[in-house]
């Protein structure tokens, strides 16, 4: 794979960027000692949000349960469908992808990660359905009640065929008004929509049309109800670990009651907060080959812009937790950027397996350890990156420029 790797060293003073179930900063043991840790999930969310802010047109994927309305909108406005029909069709598509929520049928039960161009593809596909299929779906929506959806069980697709057959025979006996159970509804919808949805999304015809889903391409998407929509993310993110031994500390605080008479001693309230203070190593990788496959519709310039935005967001993003009380928003002190034509993704975290110990600040010692470890790995295994570039040797702009020069 062609790969971009960022090896980032960053100090966060008093902070609790990612906490566990008791509100303490997360930690891990590495090299026999306790380290401060920020989970990959937490860092990914911060990077995803930062990227969407930097480049909203290309990073337009949204995690939402509310896409029924979006599809309806497109069907009515672009395809001039009757609003009632449009809503019914949208509901069926939504149910197929994420199961309608009985409490609020505009919503589905799970968060779906979709982009506006993908909404359009779904709408186009619904519009292209045959008159028969459309009628089947519209009738199905009329025959399903929220109560039935509430009763819904896990659908077992194993016996799907059988029940659908029964369904058609029911129709033949002209019991069209008979209410459907949620299971029957699910099967009916799947029978009509499975093939077109899978065709559109699987056979990458959709890739030629979707230009705004860079975040889905990088962070991936998992769709339980239909595998053809699942996207293997091109981004690779490690948990951030401190380069040194780091223990959590407890901040005891007292708050003053402003209105309390001066002669009365004592605080308005007291409490404790846990925090940590550490220098972290983190790894971000981007599989350029896979990204290219996912984003086939983009022009060369757009593709470069996606990559540059991701590199910037990965370097600049900081999780927002305790932003007001601890404001840990720092910038990295050192970023090693590598572009590799081939080879496996490789963290440089073993540079810190022996915890960094220094009386003159941890950053310089961490940078030295990182560089030495990288040189040693290159020597031993004959790893030859096509580009090595570092911040602060280069400004962020030049750093990005040099990396992008290798992206085609």
């Amino acid at each position: 794979m062609k790969l971009i790797e960022l090896h980032i060293l960053q100090s966060f003073p008093v902070s609790c960027l990612n906490r566990d179930d008791v509100g303490a900063p997360k930690s891990a043991t590495f090299g026999g000692v306790t380290r401060a840790r920020i989970s990959s999930q937490c860092l990914k969310r911060a990077i995803r949000q930062a990227a969407a802010e930097l480049q909203p047109t290309l990073y337009a994927g949204r995690r939402s349960r509310l896409f029924t309305e979006k599809i309806t909108e497109v069907l009515v406005e672009r395809h001039k469908l009757d609003p009632k029909v449009a809503e019914a069709l949208a509901k069926c598509a939504a149910h197929y992808l994420g199961k309608l929520d009985p409490k609020d049928e505009r919503k589905v039960k799970t968060l779906m990660f979709l982009s506006p161009d993908e909404f359009n593809c779904l709408a186009d596909l619904l519009k292209e359905l045959s008159e028969d299929d459309r009628n089947t779906l519209c009738q199905a929506v009329e025959r399903i009640s929220p109560e039935e959806l509430e009763k819904a069980e896990e659908t077992d697709e194993g016996d799907a065929e059988e029940t659908i057959e029964k369904e058609t025979s029911t129709k033949k006996t002209k019991e069209k008004e008979k209410p459907l159970t949620a299971k029957q509804f699910t099967k009916l919808v799947a029978k009509v929509l499975k093939t077109p949805i899978r065709k559109t999304f699987k056979e990458s015809s959709v890739k030629g049309l979707v230009k705004d889903a860079a975040d889905i391409a990088i962070f991936g998407r998992m769709v339980a109800s239909d595998h053809s929509l699942t996207v293997e993310g091109a981004g690779l993110f490690s948990h951030a670990l401190s380069t040194h031994k780091a223990d959590n500390d407890i901040d005891f605080f007292s708050a003053v009651d402003d209105l309390q008479p001066t002669e009365e001693a004592g605080a308005g309230m007291t409490g404790t907060l846990e925090f940590t203070s550490a220098t972290y190593y983190r790894y971000v990788g981007l599989n350029l080959d896979l990204l290219k496959q996912h984003l086939a519709a983009l022009s060369a310039d757009e593709f470069k812009s996606v990559v540059e935005t991701f590199v910037r967001a990965s370097i600049l993003a900081v999780p927002g937790a305790r932003k007001n009380s601890m404001n840990a928003h720092t910038l990295p002190c050192y970023v090693l950027g590598l572009v590799k034509d081939k080879g496996q993704p490789l963290q440089l975290v073993n540079a810190f397996e022996k915890p960094v110990f220094s009386k003159n600040g941890l950053m310089d010692a961490s940078i030295t350890a990182l560089k030495e470890h990288h040189e040693q790995l290159k020597r031993t295994w004959g790893i030859q990156p096509v580009l090595e570039v570092a911040i602060p040797d280069k400004s962020l702009d030049d750093f990005c420029k040099e990396i992008i020069a290798h992206v085609s």
Partner: protein
Amino acid sequence: MSVEIGYLALLLDAPLQSWGFQSRFQRRTTGLHPTKSGVIGLICAAMGVAKGSAKERELLPKLAELSMTSIAIPRQQASRWKGKVEDWPVRRLEDFHTVLGTRRASGTLNDDPVVTRRQYLLDARFGVILSGDRALLEHVAAALENPTWGVWFGRKSCIPAEPLFRGLHETLAEARKTLIGDTPLEAFTRVTDAPSFAAGTDSYNDVPVSFGREDSSSEGRQFALRRVNVEVGRTAEPGGEPE
């Protein structure tokens, strides 16, 4: 008998690893050794084989047929007191993680975030030897050296900290030597595929039959039992003089 046998050596080294063999729902546990499903899954990701694809159906039985040995290779430290070499213990970490928008067993929406607990192994390092059809292993080796999707140890955030591929060897002894040097194998805790049920000491449900169906990733996951022989490394100090 015309099939040539090869021995593929892998080093699994990362600060966090996760080898689940009974993970369901909110509690995603890890075993203490790499699972066959995890290692074969890693190979499939390196080869870019999609879940439930025709390619998977073709490849998986062949990969599952490979015999696997995993050897726990401890990280070591020189003790500050007596210059003695000590192993760092492998620990389990339970990561706390919340997920929104889930469903209850009854099918109704859960308005509260669901807590999932995901376990990782810390300070773990393993040597793995896969043996079998050399022609197949050559494909696997090429994919591991230059993976299509990537390589990770049980979870996507568990990215290797050392090159994974340690050679495709002619003999078992050679493959072993690359991983553990001249230290006798008995010093390490290891899990080997047992040749027969009677020869094994435990069974793991970790031989992948299918990683999923093409149309649904949540269904069709199927595993078969693997009879293994678990041998605990002698506590005799590997490479150190007894006191």
